[in-house]
Symmetry: D2
Subunit: 229 residues, 4 copies
């Protein structure tokens, strides 16, 4: 069996470009997302090496089942990316507690659930890479941004703890701080190279995976050349 | 009506000492915790200025009702402390998702719910102080500590966002990083001044409240003199 | 002999207000600065408890002599504040290396020299407080600000290392991050409480000194309520 | 003229491996160090593409002359690495001020001088990469480590300010936090992949240089898989 990769939080943009790079490197890739339809069409559009894994990342049993399915029918997971996120803004004075919970459930709880399911498998082989997508909001809570920022802080902590626990067991866990707009993202105009090209971002994720274990990066930031920071 | 204070996450130790300092400064103080019995006996033991507010900090309606009750029967809240926390450790390989959620719900969601309920009242008067208790784990995710650390990261982000939104509206929001063991805490032996005296900690909280608005602290750390860090 | 305090980087504003607060607490205070004239008039204007110590903070022998003079003629130093700083801005493309060096020499080397001279005395008594004034630039290198920021980073590191080495020997070392304009400072208009009142800042420094050793703060930030951050 | 690279702080280990990788990518490379002999033999041993540039990195005129020599006789510099550092430990109670200054002069002032000389050239072409080597000590001042840490903090600030000023002018400035022992370094035993292989580190530096400007990293950490952090 060829090794496989798995991407949670698939969608046009970064998730898709990572999937394509993975396929170029001759891995099979499982795409985990809630919408079966979206996944099917993504899978058809890309390659026979793409396996749709319809599952809600906030459901531990569903995620574990999807991971097991990929491991057993396709191949051992050596590369995993958690890219799911909710983007919510609002004032502390009227932000809905239910929305605050929903954002955490997708961005932070989902990351824990996914990371745990994948790590349980990787640890038996003492090898593998798990990457988490963060944001500038992972480092700084701005006014009206806590709905996005608080789960991102929470996720970054999970990534750090996993890196410290799992590194000595052969698993590379890293956190990528995306600072800027991803090109083609719905909130943005194209903007030449003033925005982050998802193909270039995907290359950064793959290169983290390819770092030999003598030199592992735990955290790096990425932004376009002209971004203020 | 005299102004009042409110403390969420009351218990022997820090919460109790803050309550006593508040009463010394001639404020009434509401204690918010789940156990009505514990609160009643605390209230009886301390002073007629102490008002038990039995409510679950993870229940937005109950917290809002408690805040409204205090505001309407005792006096406007000018000082609020969020001190609730769950302390959980364990490996990413077998940590229960339900426990991960429970820790977040108490430490981070509870902080959001409490902070929001209090801020809504304070903002109408353009004054007040809201303090959140953090820990070294608010800054660093250690191996096996994500169950404690991830919610503490999440809470710190809420405190930062609230400070940035509410500061210009006259409300002082600060985050206290407690680095070390609190004396008398169940996990610890007494240890002279090698452990943090809750009376001394309480004084730090009160002094943050007393900072004039020309010079507000948003974050500070506290540890005993001999603590390694 | 009554205990004494020493302030390096004295000038109208923060240094002066700390000196006044120290005198109110019935300590004698030595003011260390290069200009003998400025010191004499400050001393005359304030109180007989104020001792001018003309010395260049970048000259180790002169600083040691001043510290020894204060210790031997006035009293053991229990409180020391390093407040000297050079404020330089400019582009990396044409910033003068000599200016870059000068800024470091005052802000960082001066802090090391002063901190060392004072610590040598305090360590024999296993008690005392040493405070360093930092800035937002201590945490973040902005465009064109490295002339100010780089020495402030360097000084923060010295404060951290001193805290970790000297804490267990009974000496409290802390770093205050001043984020905002100090009222009355030459670059500013008065601005009500939109600027930091040096009297209020001085109170924060004195309260750090008064923290019991069970609860020491190593770093805190201070800014006016309306400051963006 | 083919483009060139320049490495300051050359020595066996990381500097040498970066030079070899640069030559593999068909660039010429100038090695800047104080010892002409060491450089000559390194140059002979490696390749005709290696140009020795004997100069003291703490001497602005010498560094500027070396940069100009490389640009005019070999080719425009598109990749520059600052890797010089002094490693000093000691107690604040007896650390020599002269040693404190020397460490800063090599690690921080040298970085400023080198970065400025290179940036002046690159900015005319609106392209190029400048990398600075940091350490864990760039982020944290440990007991007895300020002689190493304080200059590393200072250098990190310079890198950040340069990145913010020069990014929008097309120059990529990044800071690499090396956390762990480099294999073959004199203080260490070999240790298999428990230590950082300088070849693998060099690859990370080259890949930072090759990032397209839509996705630039400003800071990343690197450590071996089994390193505690």
């Amino acid at each position: 069996m060829k090794p496989s990769a798995i991407i949670a939080g698939f969608g046009p943009g970064l998730g898709q470009e990572i999937a394509l790079k993975v396929v170029e490197r001759e891995l099979n890739v499982g795409l985990l997302a809630r919408s079966a339809d979206k996944l099917e069409s993504a899978a058809r559009a890309s390659s026979s090496n793409v396996i749709p894994l319809p599952a809600d990342v906030t459901n531990p049993d569903a995620v574990e089942a999807a991971v097991n399915h990929l491991e057993e029918t396709v191949g051992p997971i050596k590369f995993a990316v958690f890219n799911a996120s909710a983007f919510l803004k609002g004032s502390i004075l009227d932000f809905s507690p239910a929305e605050f919970e929903r954002a955490w459930r997708i961005s932070a709880y989902g990351g824990f659930v996914f990371g745990q399911a994948v790590a349980k498998r990787m640890v038996t082989r003492e090898s593998g890479t798990i990457l988490f997508s963060g944001a500038t909001a992972s480092l700084r809570g701005n006014a009206q941004s806590f709905g996005f920022s608080s789960p991102k802080f929470a996720l970054r902590s999970v990534a750090q703890s996993m890196a410290r626990e799992l590194g000595p067991r052969g698993i590379h866990v890293a956190h990528v701080i995306l600072d800027g707009v991803i090109k083609g993202h719905k909130h943005s105009d194209p903007g030449g190279d003033a925005h982050m090209d998802p193909k270039d971002l995907a290359e950064i994720y793959l290169r983290l995976h390819e770092q030999p274990r003598s030199t592992w990066t735990q955290e790096l930031d990425v932004r376009p050349w002209c971004e203020k920071f």
